[in-house]
């Protein structure tokens, strides 16, 4: 049932913003939950650094206001730690779902990124960033509706570097058939389940013939199992150029690790910025929801002090989480409220061109919940 409302919701939002006030009354008539589905589910909550506590606090407030059947197990974790504390890992393994503010990675500090560590240990092999135009948010590009699915465990982020001789450093980029295949399968499955028409593989196989060639081979094999979904390939530099000039041609994009990072951030930027785009990391057993693109960007000190961080991205990610936990009606209510706040345009944070604080946006969302 969630699969039906999401495309309908998106179409209605995209086509006629004037309809959005009436959207709250759209309800899926044919939904039959199993007895006991309403029991509150535990979700691990990692506040993170910088603006993390601010925006996760926003999510907690909204969940409270909605009386959503989730309760959060909060854990302290910050980017300075050498590794993720074991109690956090145990909690995530038990709950299977986690909501996370950004974890900062010190640049060149010799500490491996905690975001990457979490993904590797929990084997969250696909990272999704959902980029779409929000009605009411003026951007330079229209008709943006892109989902970037990025391989999350290997590629350039394998972390295998060494100094050959002083002044010469090597970094290994590892591509395996196993990982490429499973992320390609996930991408096509996502497209199939969400009624998406095209999957585009992003690569640089004209230069890195073996590595990206292997990735493409895996994608082509999986594509042959989904004949109803169109599959094409595009070189990453051409892809970025097309994204800034004609973003409407892209639908679902599947990429290896590094290109995915760039493409996701570019797509998020053209659709409204990383402050509003939701995303998450998913594996076979676990899922972590966080701000879509640029999860390592935790804002600057001024943003934290003035409390002007944008909670919209994490709120939309938590709506994704509610659907993942199979609470579609709560997810719809939350998404509708957020979209209404954005389309009214009265409460927007600095990165969207307004002057509100985080708290004001949260209050507006709570007021718009029906």
């Amino acid at each position: 049932m969630a699969r039906r409302t999401l495309p309908i919701l998106k179409q209605l939002c995209a086509r006629s913003p004037s309809l959005s006030p009436g959207l709250g009354s759209t309800r899926s008539v044919t939904y039959m939950p199993r007895p006991g589905d309403g029991a509150p589910r535990p979700v691990t909550l990692i506040a993170g650094d910088g603006i993390g506590p601010l925006v996760t606090g926003a999510v907690e407030q909204v969940m409270d206001a909605m009386h959503a059947p989730v309760y959060f197990e909060r854990f302290e974790c910050n980017g300075e730690m050498k590794s993720v504390p074991p109690e956090v890992m145990d909690s995530i393994k038990k709950n299977k779902v986690c909501l996370k503010g950004g974890l900062m990675t010190p640049v060149g500090g010799g500490v491996s990124s905690l975001n990457v560590q979490l993904r590797k240990e929990l084997d969250l092999f696909a990272s999704l960033v959902i980029c779409f135009n929000l009605p009411g948010l003026p951007t330079r590009h229209e008709n943006v509706d892109i989902v970037v699915i990025r391989e999350n465990t290997e590629g350039e982020y394998a972390g295998l570097e060494h100094e050959v001789v002083p002044g010469v450093v090597e970094s290994l980029k590892v591509i395996t058939k196993f990982c490429s295949e499973r992320v390609a399968k996930y991408a096509f499955e996502y497209a199939y389940l969400n009624n998406r028409k095209t999957v585009t593989a992003v690569h640089k196989a004209n230069i890195m013939k073996l590595a990206d060639g292997l990735f493409l081979e895996s994608c082509r094999e999986v594509a042959s199992n989904y004949p109803s979904i169109k599959y094409n390939e595009i070189i990453v530099d051409n892809c970025c150029m097309q994204l800034v000039s004609k973003p409407e041609q892209f639908d679902v994009m599947v990429t290896p690790n590094l290109y995915g990072n760039l493409v996701a951030n570019t797509a998020a930027g053209i659709a409204g910025g990383t402050g509003v785009m939701p995303g998450g990391n998913v594996g076979a057993d676990h899922a972590i929801f966080e701000q879509g693109a640029s999860a390592g960007n935790v804002g600057n000190q001024k943003l934290v002090e003035q409390k002007k961080a944008n909670p919209v991205a994490l709120l939309l990610s938590s709506a994704m989480m509610l659907r993942h936990l199979q609470f579609p009606s709560f997810a719809d209510r939350l998404e509708t409220a957020v979209k209404r706040v954005i389309s009214e345009g009265k409460f927007m944070t600095k990165d969207l061109g307004g002057t509100s604080t985080t708290q004001e946006v949260v209050d507006a969302v709570i007021a718009n919940l029906d």
């Binding site: 990124s113 990457v116 330079r140 002044g167 395996t176 640029s294």
Partner: protein, 369 residues
């Protein structure tokens, strides 16, 4: 000759404050022109629409009285055993001798047993930096109106070293190499370019939070060079933030210096911001002060010979070449003429939405001069 020596003295004085011997040798590697001493430059018209747009460039330069003499070279039909490619040894020697060149689009012939043409040029001439000035063309409306940045990309190593191998079936490794020497070289050039063209800020783009040693080394080299140029602001930006900021507000950036892969992607992204590869100039800098300006678009065989091609990219690249030669007033005049012609909108080629032919467009530019 007196003028030449005065220019040399002035340049030496201005460079003394901040550059090591390497930069002055970069500058002095070129010849300075006087009225009676035209500079000889190599011209590779290339394939497809190449000859037509090269002709445009020659016409505009003649109309502007630019003291350049062109030495034309064509790609051969057979593989030259001395260079292992279709480019002859004479062509490469000509560029090495003249130190400046202009290259049109070249289609790499399909087949084996030879190196790609671009790769040959890059390796033989040791072209280590690719410079793309990207600025919005007034009058050609894209979604971005205030772009004015320069991307400088390291062109020899990084992820494009071509070192890949299959470890076991289904597992492939590709090696990214960063060396101190190459990073210092490109950082030096970036800061020298910023000083020579009056740019205020240089941003190094990296992903050193994940690739700590490789991009870390690149950043260290950039920082070292930055200390020698205290009047230029230096900052470091992580590449994902950079992409996002570029599509939201490109006016935030001035000069960008990057390793190979990021440079490839970002420079194409910036080309997309201003209207595509058909309008973007590009220049490759090599050891010993060699500058090879080129048009980065394809050879468009479908419109070759039909007088429909847009010579803007090659013209603007030729302007970049003039700036490298310090012929700033000529460069400014030609650039202004091009921008005015496009802004007026009366003569525009097909890809910009107009109906003019290449010759009409060229004539309009010559008239503006």
């Amino acid at each position: 000759m007196i003028m030449a020596s005065q220019i040399v003295r002035r340049l030496l004085r201005s460079q003394q404050a901040n550059s090591p011997a390497r930069v002055s040798s970069l500058l002095l590697g070129r010849t300075f022109s006087t009225e009676s001493n035209p500079i000889v430059a190599t011209l590779f018209p290339g394939d497809g629409i190449g000859p037509e747009i090269a002709e445009s460039v020659k016409q505009v330069f003649r109309a502007a009285d630019v003291p350049i003499e062109w030495e034309e070279h064509y790609v051969g039909k057979e593989i030259d055993p001395r260079t292992q490619s279709f480019l002859t040894w004479e062509s490469l020697e000509s560029v090495r001798r003249n130190k400046v060149g202009l290259k049109g689009p070249m289609a790499t012939p399909i087949g084996k047993g030879h190196r790609s043409l671009n790769l040959t040029l890059r390796k033989e001439l040791n072209l280590y930096a690719n410079v793309r000035p990207c600025y919005s063309l007034p009058g050609y409306k894209t979604r971005y109106d205030d772009v004015d940045l320069v991307t400088i990309r390291e062109n020899t190593e990084g992820e494009y070293s071509g070192l890949e191998h299959q470890v076991v079936r289904g597992v492939v490794e590709s090696i990214k190499i960063i060396t101190r020497q190459a990073s210092l070289r490109v950082a030096e050039y970036a800061f020298h370019y910023a000083t020579a063209h009056g740019r205020a800020r240089v941003s190094a783009i990296h992903k050193a939070n994940i690739m700590q040693k490789t991009d870390g080394l690149f950043l260290k080299c950039c920082r070292e060079v930055a200390e020698k140029y205290p009047e230029i602001t230096y900052e470091e930006v992580v590449i994902d933030n950079c992409c996002m900021m570029l599509v939201k507000n490109p006016a935030l950036f001035d000069v960008l210096v990057m390793p190979n892969l990021y440079g490839d992607i970002i420079s194409d992204l910036c080309a997309g911001l201003i209207g595509g590869l058909g309008l973007t100039p590009s220049c490759n800098i090599g050891e010993g002060g060699i500058a090879l300006a080129e048009a980065v678009h394809g050879s468009a065989p479908d419109i070759a010979g039909k007088n429909m091609a847009n010579p803007t990219a090659l013209l603007l690249s030729a302007v970049t070449m003039l700036r490298h030669l310090e012929l700033h007033d000529k460069a400014d005049r030609i650039q202004e003429a091009i921008l005015k012609t496009i802004a007026e909108g009366k003569y525009r080629t097909g890809d910009l939405g107009g109906t003019s032919t290449t010759t009409e467009f060229t004539k309009a530019i010559c008239d503006q001069l």
